[in-house]
Structure formats: structure tokens, C-alpha cells
């Protein structure tokens, strides 16, 4: 056994000596993850509702909203992409086929110990179903979603508002995340580019094809 000790040491030490690549070579662009309910026919939708603010997920229990020039730019990007895919924006939720709920993770305070893949649901005040109307009592994903979280992540979820059930199905979601820079201007550019990519890789949303 004594003779094996150096051998075991060599094995253990070399196993931990993998040369890690230089991650500074990565582009820094946000990663963009999208998923959708494959049973949904998006061509049947015509109208959508987009709130004028972005929900902020912070370390506070009280939900707050991001509503300034920067959030406007992000929401405008979404509106442009939805228009390009043939959707018409409506001012009243009641007349919308689908709605978009947009959130930004400013802090992961509430999620550090959560093992649930639906971690963002646990944030106090996260898009109450009642936001979309008193008729709804909950919402759900008809498909499995799972991803990590980090500060600086953007979430976009499309809810189907013409459902006859009392649960709102989320039929499309986009998750954009990446390392943040000290410059807000650069972060906004990255977020807008990621938002464009989210729609780019979700061509099934197009109602005109």
C-alpha cells in the first residue's frame, strides 16, 4: 500500500490538472436560449399585448418595474420583431391573443438555494396571473424548461390569452444572459442584440409563413 501512495497522488494531482481554455476569448455576447410549445399553432394569433414596463427581479420582496429610456428600447425591439412576424399590438389585454411578460434579473438573492428549474416563479410578485385579468388563477409551462440564472438575465415569456382554461399557458420563452460590463450602454446593446437573436431563432412565431 505504501508503494501505491505516490501513484495515487500522481493520479489525483494530474486529474485536477486539466488546462482550462482562455475564456477571455469568448465574444461576450449574451447567450440566447428559446423554447416553445410544439403543439401550438402560432399562425392562429393576430394580436398581442406588451406591458410598458419590465419587471425587475431584485433582492426586495416588493416587485418593481423598469421604465425608462433603456427599457423602452428593449420593448421597442420586441414590438418591432412582433410586427415583423405579423402581430398587431393592442392597447387592451382583453383584445389580445397573446401577451408578453418581460423580466430582468437584477439580483439572484431569492434564487440561490432554489433547486427548482422554475426558479423565477418563486420571486414575490412575479407576473401574477391576475395581471392578465381576473379570470386567470395561475399560469404554467406546457413543456419542460431548465436553465441557470445569473444577474443580468433577461426573460421574455409569451402567454396565450385566448385559452379557455383558467390556467394561462406560456407557449414561448426566451432567456438571454451573459457577463455584464461596467458600461450600461454596452449592456443595452448586448441585450438588444440578444433580443433580436431570440426572435431570429424562433421563426415559428411568424404568423405569415
Amino acid at each position: 500500500m505504501k508503494k501505491l501512495t505516490p501513484l495515487l497522488l500522481v493520479l489525483l494531482l494530474t486529474a485536477s490538472c486539466q488546462k482550462e481554455p482562455d475564456t477571455s476569448k469568448l465574444s461576450g455576447n449574451f447567450l440566447v436560449y428559446t423554447d416553445y410549445d410544439t403543439s401550438e399553432n402560432f399562425k392562429t394569433f393576430n394580436t398581442y399585448y406588451l406591458p410598458d414596463s419590465i419587471l425587475l427581479i431584485t433582492s426586495s420582496k416588493t416587485p418593481s418595474y423598469w421604465n425608462n429610456e433603456q427599457s423602452d428600447q428593449l420593448l421597442t425591439t420586441i414590438a418591432e420583431k412582433m410586427a415583423a412576424y405579423g402581430y398587431t399590438q393592442v392597447a387592451e389585454k382583453e383584445f389580445a391573443d397573446v401577451g408578453l411578460q418581460v423580466s430582468y434579473v437584477e439580483s439572484t438573492y431569492y434564487f440561490t438555494n432554489y433547486s427548482s428549474p422554475y426558479w423565477w416563479w418563486d420571486y414575490p410578485g412575479y407576473w401574477y396571473p391576475g395581471y392578465w385579468g381576473g379570470y386567470w388563477n395561475s399560469w404554467y409551462y406546457p413543456y419542460t424548461v431548465s436553465y441557470n440564472y445569473t444577474t443580468g438575465s433577461l426573460l421574455v415569456e409569451m402567454v396565450k390569452l385566448d385559452s379557455e382554461a383558467r390556467k394561462i399557458p406560456i407557449i414561448w420563452n426566451a432567456y438571454m444572459s451573459g457577463l455584464l460590463y461596467s458600461s450600461n450602454r454596452i449592456n443595452l446593446q448586448l441585450a438588444i442584440a440578444a433580443m433580436n437573436q431570440a426572435f431570429e431563432q424562433s421563426s415559428y412565431l411568424n404568423t405569415q409563413n
Binding site: K19, D22, Q201
Partner: protein, 211 residues
């Protein structure tokens, strides 16, 4: 990280030497029968489907005993990392989910097991040999993307034919140099994101010290 790794390598080197000294030791009377090599190696992956860029980030340790003037057997251990930059692309993770990102792939291979050799001209300063290594291989595949990473670890069966030579400027069996060319095949099967590794093939060469 680099400094930590270099320090680890120093410890590995010291441990490896301590492994080898008994082979040398028994002192001088076993000098002709015991053998040991410590090598730096350059590894070229062949259509592995992951981290395909050749690299020189690896080492090989081998020690054994010649039971006849020509036939020897012993133990070996090696490790190697190959990395590759993957430009931005959209990955179809499932029938409905897609991920767009650039990545850096890293494949760490660590084979160990038994080594067999047949050497020619054992009495000469230049002593070529043919060898075969058989054993197990641990493999860890990692994809780094933005601030995230995904990894997968697997074990497999490993085999590697090799040709090489020991060069003893100070006389046969004494301190010298070692060169070798190798081919490796391992049965490791890794799955990571959309990437599938179904067996690993490598070519490479080693340069090092011979005892």
C-alpha cells in the same frame, strides 16, 4: 490557475520520480532491467467530434522491468488536454429548444494501465522499441459558454500502440532521452449539449527523459 497547475505539475513530477527511483534503485545492479520515462507529449485528435485542436498540454509517465533482454512490462499514466474555440452558432438542443452562443471546448484525457515493450539492440546507446499500452481512460468534456459551463465525465477502455527509442549518451541503461510516436484509441462515449463523442482517436509524439 496556470500557476496552480504548474505547481501541481511539479508535485506530479516529484511523485513520479519517487515512483521511478525504486525501479532504478535496488541500486545499480538492476540498472539494465528497470526502465522509466517521463515525457512531454503533443496530441493530435482525429475526428473525435469535440475539442479537435492539437495541443502540447500533456505528459506521460511510464515505468517497468525487462524480464528478458528484449521484453519488458510495466505501468503507465498519461494526461492530456485539447481545447478548441467554437464560433457563435445556434444549437438545436431538442425539437423545440435552441441555444445561440459561442463556446470553448475542452477535452481532458487521462489513461493509465499496463505497458508492454519489445526493445531492439538493448546493449546499444540507441535502443528502439515497439510497445503497447492497455488500460482504462478517464475523460472529462467541458463546454464553456459566456459565464456558464456544461461538462460530462466518462470512463472507457484504452489501447495504444507505440514506437519509440531510448537514447543513452552515457551508456546503455543510464540516464538518457526518450522519443516516441503513438496512436491511441479509447472507447469513451460522452454526450454534451448536441455533441457526441463515440470513441476517441489520437496521434501524437512524446519527448522526454529516460532512466
Amino acid at each position: 490557475m496556470k500557476t496552480i497547475c504548474i505547481n501541481r505539475l511539479r508535485i506530479v513530477f516529484a511523485c513520479a520520480l519517487s515512483l521511478l527511483f525504486p525501479a532504478l534503485g535496488g541500486a545499480q545492479q538492476q540498472m539494465k532491467n528497470g526502465y522509466a520515462n517521463i515525457d512531454w507529449q503533443f496530441n493530435i485528435p482525429i475526428n473525435n467530434g469535440f475539442a479537435e485542436k492539437a495541443s502540447g498540454w500533456g505528459m506521460n509517465f511510464e515505468g517497468g522491468y525487462y524480464f528478458t533482454p528484449n521484453i519488458g512490462a510495466g505501468l503507465f499514466m498519461a494526461f492530456h488536454t485539447n481545447n478548441e474555440d467554437i464560433p457563435t452558432q445556434t444549437l438545436n438542443l431538442s425539437s423545440s429548444s435552441r441555444l445561440t452562443t459561442d463556446q470553448q471546448h475542452s477535452l481532458f484525457q487521462l489513461p493509465f494501465g499496463a505497458a508492454f515493450r519489445y526493445r531492439f539492440m538493448p546493449e546499444k546507446k540507441f535502443s528502439p522499441y515497439v510497445g503497447l499500452k492497455l488500460g482504462a481512460q478517464y475523460v472529462k468534456a467541458i463546454s464553456y459558454y459566456n459565464v456558464y459551463s456544461s461538462s460530462n465525465e466518462k470512463w472507457g477502455f484504452f489501447m495504444s500502440p507505440e514506437i519509440g527509442a531510448n537514447i543513452y549518451p552515457m551508456g546503455p541503461g543510464l540516464f538518457g532521452f526518450h522519443v516516441a510516436l503513438y496512436y491511441e484509441y479509447a472507447t469513451n462515449e460522452n454526450r454534451l449539449l448536441i455533441y457526441k463523442i463515440e470513441g476517441l482517436n489520437n496521434l501524437g509524439f512524446r519527448v522526454g527523459l529516460s532512466f
